[in-house]
Subunit: 224 residues, 2 copies
DNA sequence: CCGTATCCAATAAGATACTG
DNA sequence: CAGTATCTTATTGGATACGG
């Protein structure tokens, strides 16, 4: 009698709900699935292609990434778009509301930085480390700096504008910045957060500024 | 040849890792499983018993709650303790670091409040609504208030101290507060966030203050 | 090459019954 | 009450095959 395995199509998105009016619970229904928030994080500094996302989210499988992107789109946090010719490639872009999730990413990152079992030697994506700079910057120490810091992570470049104690980042050609770091993101993390020597990565431009920049991101004390 | 289904015991907690140095990813390894953060949320205003947690997390099953509590404990976010006699009951309490996750809960809640598909009529726990007050208070409108607001949610009481535009909450007997609300949390939410009339819930004390209190928590505009 | 779709094995979550 | 034990269902991940 257990025949007719009815395939039980959920009409729309009934899903597993927390059945809780609490905003936190609702947020978890929007971005609480495994990988969701990390996919959204990767969109925080501009549109990305499927293969870039896959490369920067080590361990995600193609079908899960595909599903997460569909969900983000259905929930209004991202959209799929095709760049105009001659590029004509498909990219995924965060919506304005999706970008507003950055404080969530920051709160999580700031909190977890105190974890005794955090392993900072694992690989890190370019977007992650740049967002971590926005999170961890010591505003008092940075307040009097006004500079443009460039990053070349393989093919992609970013320009960070440091001013008034905070940092804005966008994708772009770092040519002409006051300092340009050329490195894999994980090496840059080793320098900024792990105390590795500055000359283990590529630096052009104002070396004194580069040195100062790498000291602007103090880690909080560990819990245990 | 695929015999020997070795039962592959993971020695300790190898688990599914994101393999990512990003603090956000690590945070998700600590509190990213389903229910984890909501369990921690329920501990934010003081120790709770297993059955209270189960009652305030509608839909969680005993085995999952049990597992989540064990994980929170193993990760240093909560601890299990036995109250001294004559109570002698077992309760779960957040650690100091666990309590530091409140900004995460707030960032999620504030962000999700803009969601077009948020349903504020669902049930809500006492802890949730009190935390939402801490999140959503309009500091400018509240700055000149100094008052003690009491809440009776069934058996349990809370006292909120409103001062300097922010709110502190602790468990305790609301007797003697300037206002005391006696209601189910979900009804209180209907009044504060849903515009239901104040007289749909129990109010004792300074009624004008009560009215003013219920207007201190404006919701942000919806996204769509 | 850029994704999608499908299949399968491994885990996690949910429901329910049961024990000290 | 405070969980365990057991069973069922759902989700995830990995491999691979397919369509544009």
């Amino acid at each position: 009698m257990q025949l007719d395995k009815v395939t039980e199509e959920r009409p729309t998105e009934a899903k597993r709900s927390y059945d809780d009016a609490c905003g936190t619970a609702h947020a978890l229904e929007l971005i609480g699935e495994r990988w969701s928030l990390l996919v959204l994080r990767e969109l925080m500094l501009g549109p990305r292609r499927f293969s870039e996302l896959r490369a920067d989210l080590p361990g995600i499988s193609a079908n899960v990434l595909s599903q997460r992107l569909d969900e983000l789109e259905a929930r209004g946090l991202a959209r799929k778009l095709r760049l105009p010719p001659p590029a004509s490639v498909q990219v995924y872009e965060a919506t304005a509301w999706g970008l507003e999730a950055e404080p969530i990413v920051q709160a999580l990152g700031r909190w977890a930085a105190r974890s005794p079992r955090h392993d900072p030697t694992l690989p890190i994506s370019g977007v992650s480390i740049l967002l971590s700079f926005r999170t961890m910057i010591d505003r008092d120490q940075a307040r009097d700096l006004d500079a443009r810091i460039g990053f070349r992570f393989g093919e992609v470049g970013y320009v960070a504008r440091l001013r008034g104690g905070s940092i804005d980042v966008e994708r772009g050609d770092p040519h002409g910045c006051d300092v340009v770091f050329t490195t894999a993101p994980t090496m840059l993390a080793a320098v900024v957060y792990g105390g590795a020597p500055l000359d283990s990565i590529g630096v052009e431009g104002d070396i004194a500024l580069a040195k100062r920049f790498t000291t602007l991101f103090p880690l909080p004390p560990k819990v245990a």
